[in-house]
Symmetry: C2
Subunit: 201 residues, 2 copies
């Protein structure tokens, strides 16, 4: 798919993916054009297609690479730790992803919104498996009475919904809050409060 053999090839592949992420995340798959990606990358259009066989291949490469990063915060939630500390840590890490990788978040959101034609298998496979496992951990903590009893899957959905909202709907959040505020910092504090109250027994 890619051709990352020599140093220069690896470097150009990286440049292209960086540019592709910039454009796909802002315009969606269909809205993005190779011309735009080529311009951002500083390469010619045919040169893009020397490194990737098609526009779709670039998109797929981005989605595949990001999904792993995306799941890391949940993976790190430790069944042996303190429940509230672990869950708040998860929320904080997910919030940091929204802050540091908003383009990846929007790329993903665009894809899911349109039914996930290019990522469906990964959702139904790896992602579902991880969520089911961690939902089991949450259910265990609830059985032990260490956090409030809640539907574990929906608890995880609520973390996704709340944290990703600040990356994906950034334009709306900023427009409503107005100038001179720091939405992400405010959100971090608010979400800690929210989840502390939610988990309290």
């Amino acid at each position: 798919m890619t051709r990352p053999r020599t140093r220069i090839q690896t470097k150009n592949s990286e440049t292209i993916l960086e540019a592709a992420l910039e454009v796909f995340s802002a315009q969606g798959f269909r809205g993005a054009t190779l011309d735009q990606i080529a311009e951002v990358a500083g390469l010619s259009k045919p040169n893009l297609l020397y490194y990737f066989p098609s526009k779709e291949a670039m998109h797929r490469a981005l989605l595949t690479r990001m999904l792993d990063t995306w799941l890391d915060p949940l993976r790190e939630m430790d069944a042996g730790g303190d429940p509230v500390v672990e869950i708040l840590g998860y929320v904080r890490r997910k919030m940091e992803l929204s802050r540091d990788y908003p383009r990846e978040s929007r790329l993903f959101a665009n894809e899911i919104l349109q039914g996930g034609p290019r990522i469906r298998e990964a959702i139904e496979g790896d992602l579902k498996a991880l969520v089911d496992e961690k939902a089991g951990v949450l259910a265990g903590w609830m059985d032990e009475g260490r956090i409030a009893r809640l539907p574990p899957h929906h608890l995880i959905f609520s973390v996704w919904a709340l944290t990703q909202h600040y990356a994906d709907f950034d334009m709306q959040v900023r427009a409503v809050l107005g100038e001179g505020r720091d939405p992400l910092a405010e959100a971090g504090a608010f979400l800690e409060t929210l989840f502390r109250k939610l988990l309290a027994t």
Copy 2:
């Protein structure tokens, strides 16, 4: 923009907007084609352009019409009512919108995700004004000690994030939960619990 004079013109305009909503919400603005909309509407492509001057005009008509519906649940929140009842009522009405109008929700999400080029003014105008007003109501209730003190704007964002997640990311929610469940019904119950705990003093 439209030309809703005679009965037949009104009817065709409706048919077109219904088809346009179907396609735009599933594919985004750029992903949608007039051919697809024409096919869904059962009309010829030039006929679409007899009723609307351009593809963009159809999109704008849909956004304009939906924004009003979209804000209704928040408008109905009554400063004179019981705070918890009013807020939970708002959450419930917003959840009903996600259930009954998922296409409108995705149309809106697609637009905001891409920076809202065709709806920005409405966001910065009507929507911001309404949110600021209702944030004031919430702040008043907090001052009176009738609900927990929280940042009012973020409280509203959390309602949006949580309810719209179930419409916009429906594919993911269903894939993770697996077969034989009713995500929206589960979500309704979960969100009532969540907001009750969050608002408790």
